[in-house]
């Protein structure tokens, strides 16, 4: 579908509800997955809340779209970076996040974690390597 492969990074900076950015960002990631690019997704600042376990939106009558993140692995979106400092600043650890996995076709379809904990400095280096940065 495309003539070249670029490094795409989607940067999620906002809480999952309150504004629509998180949900509409996920829609771009899912559509973009069809383009066979090198996809990276980062969760920083309040964006780390998007991956929280046990989200319940019934009291605010909004769609709980968090189960959709589980589908990312099937779309070959397997590089999800969570910023360590952002988690810590909010009193969270990896244990508070949904386990998200993918099956590695290069390793006999072994199930692997999609979420990679990165320091702010490491994430800055990864951002620096990207061709395209979408900020949501």
């Amino acid at each position: 579908m495309s003539e070249q492969i670029k490094k795409f990074m989607y940067i999620n900076r906002r809480a999952p509800y309150g504004t629509i950015y998180a949900w509409e960002s996920l829609e771009v990631v899912l559509i973009g997955a069809a383009f066979d690019q090198d996809v990276h997704v980062a969760f920083i600042d309040d964006g780390v809340y998007q991956l929280l376990k046990g989200q319940d939106t019934s009291a605010v009558d909004m769609k709980n779209f968090s189960p959709t993140y589980q589908a990312l692995g099937d779309y070959d979106v397997t590089k999800l970076y969570v910023e360590k400092e952002s988690l810590e600043e909010r009193g969270l650890t990896l244990e508070d996040l949904m386990p998200l996995t993918y099956e590695d076709e290069d390793d006999d379809w072994a199930e692997k974690d999609s979420i990679r904990l990165m320091s702010r400095a490491e994430l800055a280096d990864i951002m620096d390597e990207q061709d395209i940065l979408f900020s949501f």
């Binding site: 509409e24 829609e27 771009v28 559509i31």
Partner: protein, 130 residues
């Protein structure tokens, strides 16, 4: 250089809508190419012809239409974002049984793939929003 522009915020509410326009204009004046302007989130509201700002203010929607006409710009409104926010062209009107259409001159409604494709095909994708 080939630029693609993404506009994520609505007109008047947020200066990003103005900045995107001013930047696009400056890119063209400098002799570069704009391969697409993609309107997402509340940015789709830049593409409704029902906008009626006071006469002593800028008309953000018409401004895009005029620039688009002059430079043959591809002004694309995201269909999923547009459906949520009531931006409708003739096809969407028929498909969804709506009573009217309101897409502004020079804009078209299409999918998110157009945004990803813009990222792939341009030299620079510049995003305007918070």
């Amino acid at each position: 250089m080939k630029f693609a522009i993404q506009v994520n915020e609505g007109p008047y509410q947020h200066q990003a809508a103005d900045s995107a326009y001013q930047f696009t204009k400056a890119v063209l004046e400098a002799g570069h190419e704009i391969m697409r302007v993609f309107f997402y989130h509340d940015g789709v509201n830049n593409g409704t012809n029902l906008t009626t700002p006071p006469q002593d203010d800028r008309n953000i929607v018409n401004r895009w239409s005029e620039l688009g006409k002059k430079h043959d710009l591809d002004l694309v409104v995201c269909v999923a974002a547009a459906q949520r926010r009531g931006i409708v062209d003739e096809g969407e009107m028929k498909r969804n049984g709506k009573s009217a259409q309101n897409i502004a001159d020079g804009f078209r409604i299409s999918g998110l793939g157009q945004l990803v494709e813009a990222g792939i095909q341009s030299d620079r994708l510049v995003v305007f929003g918070d």
